[in-house]
């Protein structure tokens, strides 16, 4: 296999514009040489920015490096270029499953199955996802799933009581970092299910996009993002440049009041983050 890497590297060196980087990057990824795979994938992507397979390869490397937010973006981009790209559909299914969104995971797998009806891995993955078996599903998708970190940073720091004394501290206030990991608080959906982690994962990157939008429009620094849903209202604030705060309430709480609640919670979060130091 080392010889394969050498041979493919030589081919790529001779013809940097060739598509051999796809095979080389995947081979390196499979061997666990993620930094090398990352360099190869990124180099290929720079030369072939409109090639869905290049985005798929890069996303796989990012997923292996646990950079799920960017992996999501790359697979999303691959699908925009090639809407039936099986690798991207499988990758997104994996990420949706990872954040607990089984319906979306199955939907993406079914789309993959329509594009590649004879792929036994997809058939297996659909069954496993429906059965809640993460590692088997990931295996079926051809996406290596590395062991979870021993001390998972995503666990809510209940003992820290970041929002102690504030209304809805354990059901409607969530503090997360820029990578979509929960720092404190908790969020429950109307049925009482803890949805802190999936919501945090989906919100990763929102603050950067909000900042880019505000900059582009000359809106200055963004100070808040409020949204009205059919069953409830949400407000996002940025207590520090590294953190994002989400406040969720039902529709009986007016948007203006929600902004005030968010302001108080942001101050509490800011103090708590400073103490954590």
């Amino acid at each position: 296999m080392a010889d394969d890497v050498k041979a493919l590297s030589a081919q790529l060196a001779q013809d940097p514009a060739s598509l051999v980087f796809l095979r080389l990057g995947e081979l390196l990824r499979q061997r666990g040489q993620l930094d090398a795979a990352h360099r190869v994938a990124l180099g290929g992507l720079e030369r072939h920015p409109h090639l869905a397979d290049a985005h798929d390869l890069y996303a796989r490397v990012l997923a292996d490096k646990r950079d799920y937010e960017r992996a999501f973006d790359e697979w999303d981009m691959a699908l925009r270029i090639a809407p039936a790209h099986v690798g991207a559909l499988k990758g997104l299914a994996f990420l949706y499953f990872k954040v607990g969104d089984v319906a979306q995971a199955v939907s993406h797998l079914e789309a993959a199955q329509r594009a590649a009806p004879d792929d036994p891995g997809i058939i297996q993955a659909v069954a496993m996802v429906r059965g809640g078996q993460a590692s088997a599903a990931a295996s079926g998708l051809g996406i290596e799933r590395a062991p979870e970190p021993a001390a998972r940073g995503a666990a809510p720091l209940e003992e820290a009581r970041v929002f102690a004394g504030l209304e809805g501290a354990q059901e409607g206030l969530l503090l997360l970092d820029a990578s979509g990991r929960v720092l404190g608080g908790a969020l429950r959906d109307p049925s009482g299910r803890d949805v802190s982690e999936p919501v945090a994962a989906y919100l990763a990157g929102v603050s950067q996009e909000a900042a880019r939008s505000a900059k582009l429009l000359g809106l200055g620094t963004w100070t808040g993002l409020s949204a009205e849903g059919r069953q409830g209202h949400v407000h996002l604030a940025q207590p520090t440049s590294e953190a994002l705060l989400l406040v969720v309430r039902d529709r009986s709480v007016p948007m203006g009041r929600l902004a005030i609640i968010a302001q108080r919670a942001a101050q509490a979060a800011q103090r708590w983050l400073e103490q954590q130091g």
């Binding site: 919501v199 808040g224 849903g229």
Partner: protein, 117 residues
Amino acid sequence: MTAAGFGRALDLVTRVRGVRGAMLVSAADGLVVADQLMEGIKGPAVAALAGSLASRLGRAMTAAGVGESVFWHLQGSGGALLVVPAASGILVVAVAEPEVNVGLVRLELLRAAEAVA
């Protein structure tokens, strides 16, 4: 809907005092469908970001159990971006001054969204 129809929908929004421009954006790919923007606003880039932000926010809101987004409002120290997703998969977007009447813009965005749905 015709270009004139899109124009009439945008007129509802841009006539509100303090609105610097309005756009109809395809939610699926973040492309501009129609716009009425003041000079200097980079429509295609704003549309792409609005589409992406709407997508992320929509997924988070659905996961949080508050349902689909009806209206969202990005507040900045120098202005605001206000968005209403229409049933047709189009985002109705307004760019406004900081002192704009948000309630009024929201109403007109909702009317425009109905018109393009």
